[in-house]
Amino acid sequence: MNLSVRIGGLTLQNPVTVASGTFGYGVEYSQLVDLNQLGAVVVKGIRLDPVRGNPTPRTVEVTSGLINAIGLQGPGVDGFIRSYWPFLKELKVPAIINIWGVTVEEYAEVARRLDALGGVGALELNVSCPNIKEGGAQFGTDPRLLSQVVAACRKVTRLPLITKLSPNVVSIVPYAQAAEAAGSDALSIMNSYPAMAIDVETRRPVLANVTGGLTGPCIKPIALKLVWEAARAVRIPIIGMGGIQSAADAIEFIMAGATAVAVGTANFYEPQTPLQVIAGLRQFMLQEGIEDVRRLIGSAQTGR
């Protein structure tokens, strides 16, 4: 049975990864999960300098979901290389580093620094965080800026580039096509959906940041539709994500056209989820007599 898939020049031993921001830098989960069983480890977003992040409360639980406004707290690229890279580079599976910036030049500089490390699996360009005042989502909601970010990174690295798209657009197609045309090797779909919650007793928004990004099982149908649409518009592979908590969820994304998937918020409440998804996918293929997972990609058909 073949579970391996390719994302640009990168081979994953299976199509199950984790979503940036839900898995720290890998090391935090290493006592609970055998990381070497995953398709890849995807780390939290890194920019050039350390980031303090937003005031608290930063998250709020809602029906079948979670709204967060962390503000991309992180150690900056040097802190990342010092504190986390020594662990990640020893893994047998690829480490995909999520990066962001507030200018096109910053994206390119972070990409250049990580390229120079040697051994990084791929770079995921976060052009879609809803919780950052400057940059962030702006790049993800303007196809021209999006192209500039991808092209600038493309110039400084041959590492596979994965562009993570925002769901907060009228149609995802022009964004998917812009990323592809600018040299992106793959797409991640989707980032969190802009949302909020209000405390009726205090009559205040729950989050200190007022709004945040919605994730968890409640966004899965939205993400699935975006993957379906993008898969029909581009040739590059798609990593599907949004509310995956079972193998069936992951298989839906693959059938919609995703080459790989990422488990996100479910890591917070059940760290075994990615491994359970891999086991369930294998089981499904066995039952259905499918030898190669690539035969499932985009296999959902319209018409009765």
Binding site: Q31, R52, T56, G65, N68, F268, E270
Partner: protein
Amino acid sequence: MVEQTAQIVSNERDTDLYFRVVVRAAQIAPLVQPGQFVHVRILPLKQALLRRPFSVFQVSEGTLSLLYKAVGQGTEVLSRMRPGEELSLIGPLGHGFTVPHPGGEVPLLVAGGYGMAALFLLAERSPQRGIVFVGGRRRADILCEKEFRALGWELRVTTEDGSHGEKGMVTEALLAELKRRVPGRKLFACGPTPMLKAVGRLAAEHNLPAELSLDQHMGCGIGVCLTCVAPIKTAGGWEYQRTCTEGPVFDSRQIAWEAAQ
């Protein structure tokens, strides 16, 4: 840190809205240090996704117990679970209290409400007995008095309505004791944030060390989601650190309360 399924041995009402649940958790129980917590997935809770953190109250051969207040949808569902049903636990988690050395500091424990639960293991494992100051709004908020007395600790109870112990705030009872200026003491506190701030202030005024267990909303419990951060002083200023990982117990002098306003 271990993830395991834990069968409920008992789950009984303590007083009012407070409950004690005992679970079989042979892998986690022997590892627990005072002030650490377990992150609990309440499996029948379907709409809410996240685990709930609880300080470990007591441990014995292969079991551990939690003392909780049924205040939200998670704890409310938990309070209706019966012996034989299962929870999923990750633990032990967090950086707990520093147990005093033999002949070292005499601990003064300060608890508000179910904060008492987080302090029991410290009292049990401290080589020196000290005094525990416990406060609450009313009689029903004063928990596990019997267990602390059984350890031979002196208790000073305060309630805001005077229905049990002295009428007043727990920090008033603490201040009265600190005025005696007995040297060689250290404060350990767990309770609501205003109480922790007051304990930190009293410790500074009386030049005593204090360890405070912070109570923050938590997400993943293992250091990745960055929900539970608190402002902690650094050489150059302050930064957000994780209550679940660097905490929940911090040296009170390290907490930059004013920074996060």
